[in-house]
């Protein structure tokens, strides 16, 4: 009897030890694995730009937004990109290099509408989440595109002009390319915004992203159609070139001009009154949303196929509005 009792005592003690180990061990192990999981969870994203240039407002603002998202979501971020938008081969190499690093996601600004396609596909084939930023390509690649809604931007320009349009309005367009998606979308937007005044567009010239050509083309257009009293520039070069031409022709007062993008020269032209309004993109938002979206794809959230990073119409009167100042004058501009 005594023996049996000792035996049962041993059993009880053993039972307690087991229970203690289970109660202590399992959650502890769980916690440990949870913590290591957390450590592993740090998402790695590589951003491959088509241009990485600290002195360019657009791209440096985008990087600023990228950094904000990276710190907010605790992302391991790496930035890549050629210094010039024309270095196709360099971006190709960079894409391959990035794939080799096996990040969770790549946020890519494709340097070309078609050449980049196979490389973008390689990213997806490697099992890496792909999000496109700023530009699209001829084939649908990637989980999402974060860019300025160019149609929407164009529509803002069109709607602005429509407010001042009348039956005597004659409109000319300076575009940067007949085949560029941004040019096409923006023009569609302008026409949609103009509504019934869309058929007041009498001429359209192309500058192929060269402000000098834009200047000449605008002068030619004005010569050909002297009755033009409204001009739309569809990108930075087109707008700058057109504005220079209108100013030099002394027609700034007569012609209502609207441009796209916000280089310093454009802002000055706006302040000067050559431009009546400009539509600006939000590169910081684009960078922020691009990385946020890439992060969301990694953690398994569903993302919209197309995300608009936004654009804004600014007139001379609203240049120094609080919310516009930062769009037009990034901090790094100060020392130029």
């Amino acid at each position: 009897m005594e023996y049996r009792k000792k035996d049962s005592m041993k059993k009880i003690i053993l039972f307690i030890i087991v229970i203690t180990l289970l109660a202590g061990g399992i959650p502890f192990l769980y916690l440990c694995s949870y913590q290591s999981e957390q450590a592993e969870k740090k998402v790695s994203i590589i951003f491959i730009s088509k241009r990485l240039d600290e002195n360019n407002d657009f791209w440096s603002s985008m990087v600023e937004g990228i950094d904000m998202a990276a710190s907010e979501y605790d992302i391991d971020i790496e930035l890549m990109g050629p210094a010039l938008e024309t270095e196709y081969d360099l971006q190709k190499k960079m894409i391959l290099e990035a794939i080799a690093k096996k990040p969770d996601a790549i946020a890519l600004v494709p340097i070309d509408y078609s050449i980049t396609v196979p490389y973008a596909k390689q990213i997806e084939e490697a099992g890496i989440k792909l999000v496109l930023m700023d530009s699209v390509m001829e084939e649908e690649v990637g989980l999402s595109v974060v860019s300025t809604d160019n149609y929407e931007g164009g529509r803002k320009m069109g709607e602005y002009l429509k407010e001042y349009a009348g039956h005597s309005s004659v409109i000319g367009i300076v575009a940067h390319s007949p085949s560029s998606s941004t040019a096409i979308d923006r023009e569609r937007g302008v026409r949609a915004g103009l509504g019934g005044y869309a058929d007041h567009i009498v001429d359209k010239v192309y500058c192929y992203s060269d402000s000098v050509k834009a200047y000449e083309a605008t002068l030619n257009m004005l010569e050909k159609n002297p009755e033009i009293n409204m001009i739309v520039g569809l990108n930075e070069d087109s707008s700058v070139g057109a504005a220079r031409a209108v100013k030099d022709a002394g027609l700034a007062e007569q012609i209502r001009m609207i441009g796209f993008d916000s280089s310093m020269e454009q802002v000055q032209f706006l302040e000067e009154g050559v431009f009546n309004a400009i539509v600006v993109q939000k590169p910081l938002n684009m960078g922020y949303l691009g990385i946020k979206t890439a992060y969301q794809t990694v953690i398994g959230e569903t993302v919209d196929k197309e995300i608009d990073s936004g654009s804004k119409l600014i007139t001379k009167e609203t240049i120094y509005d609080k919310e516009n100042e930062k769009l037009l004058f990034p901090f790094n501009q100060m020392h130029e």
Partner: protein
């Protein structure tokens, strides 16, 4: 047994349970308090730390603003500046002096972008005469200018300074009206532009963790600095920048949206610097603390469980042993182990009391036994004593008769036999005698009777040698012989024979007294041990006494038995146990 077992278990179980409950409550409440406390301490520390940083930052900002203030004071009270602002033709004369002054002032602080005066008379100077006013702006559109014109000193928070042609610097502007020393009429505006970087750098340098940041709002709630300013304007970042009830206070701290805000307001600038820390990030270290506490709690409770089991086992061990002892006593076994009593507590007392009780019971039983023995002995003696007078009278009667007949030889013989008989029976030294002694004694008696009945009685005695030396109680055979003579032989016509056989049969001593006398009826046989039947002639006192004595001495399974038939005789049989020498018989 099972009931007892269950009760025992539950006593111990209850002890363990209460023990554990107490420990668990203590440990868990300790844990909760500690965790709460540590997260509170972390928060408090964070608030203190943040406050220190942002107060320092506020002081730095105030230093900048004071610096601007000083510069502006110097400029305002410079008579050349005033003269320049009211000068017409001789303006250039003063312009050079003012230019020189501005250059000196700008030398002192690298973070001052612009020092400028703008006169109501369109005379102006910004830094030096190469700097032109932006031709595309209206001075009236500039808020800091308007405020100064209205006569107010203003610190205009972060904005792009567009008064300078082709330059768009982010600055903080301090503007002041310049009054005419004579009539106090405002003759111009002085402004000092501080590089906005000077302030944003201060904010960016402050490290409040990976997700922490600092922002500054001015007295009207406008953002002076916020790292996510543009996201806020775009609606991509939502934050209640300036809860009215908080930012009024010079120092405040609040929690919102899982973030910890700490703010300090500068009286000089009216700006509020807010430090924001991410609570999750801040408290991530408490996760470690929590898991450590949890592990500690589990270990503590485990140890407590072990201790509880061991301790309660130790405490209840004497109880359980006491219980075992009690169970033994219950079955009548008083020979329980006297366990050593170590515990000096209630259980020890209980065991001690129990032991005393058992001893008391044992004493009682022993005393009872002694009393019983004494009672039995006195009873035996009483029964034994009864034999003597009957026989004595009868024998003495016979001797008298023989003496009267002058049969001297027979008188001698009988008297000597009687003497032998009496010596044996009267001497009470020994209760026990050997079988042969007993039968010797009986022979003396038979001899006496044979002489009395003269030729009417014959007898023989046979002893199994094996039992001759065995001890039996004395005076058990003679009464049977007596009975055989008085109830059997006496009524028989002619010679009667008595045979005594003493033998060892089936581990018993069997002594038979066989007579061929008158015999007994069944009725007589039934009542042979009955005390109430009184025989007028020779009662059965002797036989009954023998039976009683044997049973008293050896137990009820022993005693006498009779077989008898009228006209044929009687066989009286004594059954006795074989006893090894020295046994007192209990």
């Amino acid at each position: 047994m099972t009931i007892m077992g269950e009760r025992k278990k539950s006593l111990r179980g209850r002890m363990i349970l209460s023990f554990l409950l107490i420990v668990a409550i203590a440990v868990v409440s300790f844990m909760i308090i500690s965790i709460n406390r540590s997260s509170r301490v972390i928060k408090e520390t964070s608030v203190d730390y943040t406050l220190q940083l942002i107060q320092m930052m506020n002081e730095n900002i105030e230093f900048y603003i004071e610096n601007m203030e000083n510069i502006s004071q110097i400029a305002i009270y410079n008579s050349d500046v005033r003269k320049y602002l009211v000068a017409d033709d001789d303006a250039d004369e003063y312009l050079a002096k003012v230019e020189e002054q501005f250059a000196t002032l700008k030398e002192t602080r690298k973070d001052i972008y612009n020092i400028g005066v703008v006169g109501m008379n369109t005379n102006y100077l910004i830094n030096d005469r190469t700097v032109l006013i932006n031709p595309f702006i209206q001075l009236n559109d500039l808020e800091w200018y308007n405020k100064a014109i209205e006569g107010k000193d203003t610190v205009f928070s972060s904005h792009v300074q567009n008064i300078v042609y082709k330059e768009y610097e982010w600055v903080v502007t301090l503007s002041k009206p310049i009054g005419d020393p004579v009539d106090g009429e405002i003759i111009g505006v002085l402004f000092v532009d501080l590089n906005y970087r000077a302030i944003s750098n201060l904010a960016e340098e402050i490290n409040l963790g990976q997700k922490g940041y600092v922002y500054i709002v001015d007295g009207d709630g406008n953002i002076v600095y916020h790292p996510k300013q543009q996201l806020i304007y775009s609606g991509l970042w939502e934050e209640e920048l300036m809860p009215a009830d908080r930012t009024k206070n010079p120092v405040a701290s609040w929690e919102n949206n899982n973030k910890l805000y700490t703010s300090t307001r500068s009286e000089l600038t009216g700006w509020t610097v807010v430090g924001v820390s991410d609570l999750d990030e801040m408290l991530s270290s408490t996760d470690d603390i929590i898991s450590m506490y949890y592990l500690l709690a589990v270990v503590l409770i485990g140890v407590a469980m072990l201790l509880a089991v061991l301790l309660t086992d130790k405490i209840t061990l004497p109880l359980r042993r006491l219980q075992e002892s009690m169970l033994k006593v219950e079955t009548g076994n008083f020979k329980v182990d006297m366990m050593e009593i170590q515990s000096r507590d209630e259980i020890g007392d209980l065991i001690r009391t129990f032991h005393i009780m058992i001893q008391e019971i044992e004493n009682l039983i022993a005393r009872n036994n002694i009393e019983q023995e004494e009672k039995r002995k006195s009873e035996l003696n009483a029964l034994q004593a009864q034999i003597n007078p009957h026989f004595l009278y009868n024998t003495l009667d016979s001797i008298i008769w023989m003496a009267e007949d002058s049969n001297t030889r027979d008188v001698v013989l009988m008297t000597s036999a009687l003497a032998k008989l009496l010596r044996k029976s009267i001497s009470n030294e020994n209760e026990l005698v050997t079988v042969s002694e007993e039968l010797e004694y009986t022979k003396s008696y038979l001899l006496i009777q044979k002489m009395r009945y003269k030729g009417k009685l014959k007898y023989s005695v046979n002893i199994d040698a094996a039992i001759a030396d065995m001890e039996i109680i004395k005076l058990i055979v003679q009464p049977l012989v007596e009975n055989a003579i008085y109830h059997g032989i006496k009524y028989k016509e002619g010679i009667g024979t008595i045979v005594i056989e003493a033998e060892y049969r089936e581990k018993e001593i069997v002594i038979q007294v066989i007579d061929d006398g008158y015999g007994m009826s069944d009725d007589q046989l039934v009542h042979i041990f009955d005390e109430r039947v009184i025989d007028e002639r020779r009662n059965g006192v002797g036989v009954r006494n023998v039976h009683k004595r044997i049973q008293l001495y050896y137990g009820s399974q022993y005693g006498l038995s009779f077989i008898s038939k009228i006209g044929q005789g009687t066989i009286a049989t004594i059954h006795l146990p074989v006893q090894t020498g020295g046994n007192d018989g209990v």
